[in-house]
Subunit: 247 residues, 3 copies
């Protein structure tokens, strides 16, 4: 038997963060919180989140289990919750349903069979550069880039972080010098190109959750985007595969 | 000659309340106010409103008459009125037009022939249960139900009021115990099922007009929804036919 | 070499004001400001604007030149600018690109060949009536007229200004007596009919820029709409061709 009470905003963040990649996801109800790892069908983007039990108002779980969720269903009932509402979730293995309550309203959500849902493995990556930057700045650069292209190149060296997007005729660039970043660790120049649509979705989620985001970057390598919310009790990590630059 | 001045919000409420059922309606300009009764073409929903002359800033009417109105036209001119604007309406039988003035702007609306528009008769209903409840609560339950189904069952007994909607796999329920209702009169359990789309439209109108709504309910019988606004000088009653539950 | 820094709102007004008529426009970078004159492809509407150098925070221009701009591109980068942001623009003839910077983000916009873009000549018009009126009032009358027709007639005489629109069955009228106008110069009655869609677009731009608008009107003649913003340092004039009234 799992039972949790949590602020609507917190659980919405997790559901929305996962829903940009997949429609259905497997969540692990652990003794110390709820975990999820999912890769999108095209194997381009991946999420790895930890929703620690301390993010909940109340958290009770005697036995670890996995549940398969149609994310649209959970979004449906969360839509009626205001920012200050507490969402109550109950799961009993034998019933095979997640019962979600917001105020006087209860939705009994039938769950998906998790036996067909593979575990997602997080690749081990050696990403030499780490940039901590204002989420809002990344968001602005992405908006400007979306007007001209469908990909964007992230570049870091020891002095600055850059985002460059090239269209057929126009170029959009953002340069942030080291002193305007929260932090920059980068020994030698690294550069990778990414699909804008995935990056844009990920940054929108990050922006709703945290003022800053940590970017780990390599050369023609996946990027790791990580941020926290709920006083650090929610941790979300995205991995995004690079696009190979045609020369 | 009919002449009336009324707050834009009040007349908008009446027009919107009728427009969820029909495009054209017959209104009766009476000595003591404006009345309207209309049933939708499918004979599922019905409205019966009274807009008493006391709801008007000024009201002058020497002779009772009926006018047929294309509601879109009236909505068109009301769209330019702000919440605090006063709308002036003039009707002279011999001209056959309703003249509506908002600030400096006048729209002369040609009227419809009422000779083909039948009078709507209100069926006499014996509805044993009466529930007075916060409109907002009903609205929330309907929003949650809309995600899974196209119908909803209203249930009352002596202790509580319930709304239950069943989809193919999921269930949405709202239970309000007697102590959370404004009032509950119900000797024995009653239960009827209704189409969600009509109920949703009606509750949206009620929600814009009043914090509370009175629900009269029976067993597999139409429901009566009634509410007031403008200090009680506007009374709106909806009747909604039940759906027969397949067993 | 041209270089200017300007409040985002000011440059947005100019771009939006031109974009209601054309997708591409030629702007003249003059020693004392930026000028533009453009007619729409159907030769119904025309804009003539002056963006004086005093509207800029900084303005540097050594040599007059013309640039051809795809307005969507400029709108794209301006979209990321907040109301208080300063937009920086740089143009070097030899590079053939306009470089626009908002905060840390730069867009290099390739320019259009102006050799094919004809100069627009402003017809000299003798318009006997001049009305200065609240932009909001015109906007309201247009909104009401749009519900019933696709054209509107502007009428002035020595006592009042009128806008009249006739649909198949209904009529919308606005009358503003002289005392409710900012000013009215009109010796004898004038009257011209105009396409509502163009007029509506022009008035929306005027409304965003200025509380009042000057209307110069004749008999079955183009109308001249003019307004200022940025403390008078931005002047926009629209000309709109009349529609011939069928009798």
């Amino acid at each position: 038997m799992f039972q949790g009470k949590i602020k609507a905003d917190f659980i919405k963040t997790i559901i929305d963060a996962t829903a940009i990649l997949v429609d259905e996801a497997k969540f692990k109800l652990m003794l110390d919180g709820v975990y999820g790892r999912t890769v999108d069908p095209a194997h381009v983007g991946m999420i790895d989140f930890k929703l620690k039990k301390e993010a909940f108002e109340e958290y009770e779980n005697k036995e670890e289990s996995e549940i398969g969720i149609d994310l649209e269903k959970l979004k449906g009932i969360l839509k009626i919750a205001g920012a200050e509402d507490i969402v109550e979730m109950n799961y009993q293995k034998e019933e095979g349903r997640l019962i979600v309550t917001v105020r006087n309203i209860t939705r009994k959500i039938s769950l998906l069979d998790t036996s067909e849902m593979h575990d997602t493995k997080i690749p081990s990556l050696d990403l030499p550069a780490e940039i901590v930057v204002a989420t809002e700045q990344i968001h602005q650069a992405i908006r400007a880039a979306e007007a001209i292209s469908d990909h964007i190149t992230l570049i870091a060296d020891k002095d600055k972080f850059e985002m460059v997007s090239e269209g057929d005729t126009d170029v959009v660039e953002m340069q942030i010098p080291k002193e305007q970043l929260y932090s920059l660790k980068c020994e030698e120049k690294v550069k990778s190109m990414f699909p804008l649509d995935y990056l844009s979705d990920m940054i929108k989620i990050a922006r709703g959750a945290s003022d800053e985001i940590t970017i780990n970057l390599g050369n023609n390598y996946p990027v790791r985007l990580s941020f926290e919310t709920a006083g650090g009790y929610i941790k979300i990590v995205y991995l995004l595969a690079p696009r190979i630059e045609s020369e």
